[in-house]
């Protein structure tokens, strides 16, 4: 599918954020979803970090694929390559930020290592290639997916903060109730299914 008009892009964004939400519809990136969703503060921090890294990673992996793997006819190695590229990229960004952007590093720094092996990031990068998006489309799609991730994480954290003081049966405390809730939110997001088809 070609993305030419603004409407196309808007539809793509709506689809990535709501309909095909990376967390709730595709169920990628579960570790941070359960791991850093206990407090709203860390959840938003993580969300921002994902937005930042995902956009960068999408651009780099797209270029790696198009300009290195395709000419070398090594397309089938893309998963392994992307892991390597994303990991190196995140490490690089972390060092760069620590030195040049201490303020930003303070806010996002602690989350960066968590993203190094995040399947949501890898997943979006692979989708970009599978759907044969152009670099522009890939960037927009990645950004929208990351926003969807941040949105779901923040929603979930808001609920989990309340669990802390809710009367939950002993056996359901902690991750158990978290997974049940995640399932329920995911079902709620199915309401968006069919709204946009991409």
């Amino acid at each position: 599918m070609e993305y030419n008009s603004l409407t196309d892009y808007l539809l793509l964004i709506v689809a990535a954020v709501f309909v095909k939400n990376i967390l709730l519809a595709q169920y990628l990136g579960n570790c941070p979803f359960l791991g850093v969703s206990k407090k709203m503060e860390t959840a938003t921090g993580m969300g921002m970090a994902v937005v930042f890294v995902l956009v960068l990673a999408a651009v780099f992996t797209w270029m790696t694929y198009t300009y290195i793997l395709v000419p070398l006819k090594l397309e089938y190695m893309k998963t392994v390559t992307f892991i390597l590229v994303i990991a190196a990229l995140v490490q690089f960004v972390e060092m760069f930020m620590k030195k040049s952007m201490p303020a930003l590093y303070k806010g996002l720094g602690v989350f960066l290592p968590l993203i190094t092996t995040n399947c949501a990031v890898l997943g979006v990068c692979l989708i970009n290639i599978d759907k044969e998006y152009s670099i522009m489309t890939a960037t927009v799609f990645s950004f929208a997916s990351a926003v969807g991730f941040a949105l779901a994480l923040a929603l979930f954290a808001g609920l989990r903060e309340r669990f802390e003081i809710a009367a939950i049966p002993k056996s359901f405390e902690g991750t158990a109730i978290g997974l049940i809730t995640a399932g329920l939110i995911a079902m709620a997001f199915f309401g968006f299914a069919g709204m946009v088809n991409i």
Binding site: M77, Q91, M95, K98, K99, I165
Partner: protein
Amino acid sequence: MGITEIIYATVAMLGLGFVSAAVLSLASKVFQIEEDPRIEAVEGALLGANCGGCGYAGCAAAAEAVVRGDAGVDVCTAGGATIAIGVATVMGMEVKIKEREIAQLGCRKGFRIDQKYKYEGIMDCRAAVEMWEGARNCGRACIGLGTCEKSCPFGAIKIGENGLPVIDANICTGCGTCVKNCPKDVLELVSMTQRLLSFNKLDDCLAPCRQTCPAQIDIPTYIEQIKHGQYKEALMTIKERNPMPLTCGRVCPHPCEYVCRRGAADEPVNINHLKRYAADIELRSGEHYPIDCNPDTGHKVAIIGGGPAGLSAAFFLRRLGHQVKIFEMMPKLGGMTRYGIPEYRLPKAVLDFEIDGTLGLGVETECNVKLGRDFTLQDLRAQGFEAIFLAIGAWKSSPMRVEGEDCDGALAGIEFLEKEGLNADNPIGDRVAIIGGGNTAIDVARTALRLGAKEVTIVYRRTRKEMPAEWYEIEEAEHEGIKFHFLAAPSKIITDENGRFKALEYLKMELGEPDASGRRRPIPIEGSETIMELDNIVAAIGQKPDLAPFPEDEIGKDIELTRWQTIIGDDQTLQTAVPYVFTGGDCFTGALTVVSAIGAGRRAARSIHLFLDEDAELTPPPKPLIKNIPESMLPTIYGVVRRPRVEMPEMEPMVRVKSFDEVALGLSEEAAKYEASRCLQCGILCYNQDIHTPAEIEI
């Protein structure tokens, strides 16, 4: 896929890997940040447990925070003072040891409501909510979520049987994680100093008994501990406020019991004898339970008078780390508890054990020295005492102001009891009359009986109803065969030819209008003079402090005195006109109870501590409650199953009058536990039945 392609792919991937590695290693050189070498040194000095108790992600992060200046050298909550000193050495700082703090649950910040709390067999606000809907109206009270238990990095906090957190003081490091995490903000960090020096505030969660106790003992807590068989803990709860539970457990007139809420249902809880039960266990063990004292502060405090006020002040000042010396005019410490309370109510051996407990903390004493006779206040200053506590008591009997009262055979109540306390020869005739209606009159009468008097009569100018003595003391005296002669006031002492006392002439009285004290004023009936033939008469109509030394003292002359012969001090801080001199007890208030003197001792200890501490300011403590908080006083209580109160077993009257053996025998363990279970654990008055929507509950 052929072998060539595999090699091709591998080489390509390796190449990519090498490129990445090269870029990263180059980047690490380019973007290298100079790290402060101190971070590593501080990390080395820390415990290395990576427990996260400090709130940082591990010891390395904590070390970074220290070097950055975000955290103090005491960042390590698990390590204690040694670690802090180590960190400070690295940082080139000096360490002043901070007092250890531990977490404490305090449902004491709530706001009281006017809705009176009704009982329906349920004892706290949470249960009330369950039963009648409505809500707790208290913005802060613990709701037993257990967030604190989950958050504590050291497992020092557990939700106990009653659904409230229980903190193990031995494990708690005072890191404050629970305080930060508690959603209801009912946990706080409290040091021993703060604990010992805290006084009841109006918005504290105070049961009526706690409001009334002059020593402000946490009564519901110690009764709960007795109920669970935690006798040592119960005694420690008492000793937070009262270092003389053995004495008070025997002689306290227990004003707490008169306001006990259980009294509105059946009978008040026997609060005082439960205190005696807990204290007697320590007595029987023969050893004092260890009591914590803060490290020495180097300040020296002189206490004049080794009675309950002086001993209480010494106990608390010593625990706060000050050096204390008591100057006592009598041969032994104890004051009126030794020389005013007879053996059959408070055996001397028991009192000795109690006083040893306080002295065991390192309190110095000097007996047989009297202010004005052997030393002056100036001498004490010269010896380096930075503050002086005057607790000289009230040791002078008030005169009857009748003709001939100085004759041989007419005695004064206080001196009579004092002689008995000194084990001196104390002759008494067969027929004795005691003038007065207070507890001293009863003590004198019962002592006279035990010394061999055949016929003992208490002569009082009003009726039994107006007697200031406790009703149970009057009853006990009656059981022992002491007679009462009401509505009679002495008018003349008749002597024989040798000037010895022979008879008492008295006027009959009738009761008129109530006076300032609320009691009906006795009015003499004209021409009703009657003669009572007697061998001895004892005046026990009141006692006053002996303030003779003050006007002649270099410093003492600046201390102001009232015309009722008491010392003037600030009502709240007990500071006198001389800033470093404090006062309290009978010499400040006039003769009162042991327990008020003990309360005053702690109040004075607080003022003296703040006066000595350079970093603190002498602020007045919360005012003592003069009246009970109106909404906490309930006229009726519903739903309490009536169960009789346990009474103290006593020796048979005909047996006990033959000796000075202790009359009250002490409760059995079974009786004590039963009585403790009668306590309603009152205090939480933060429930409002009219709030119906749960949304209004602030969580």
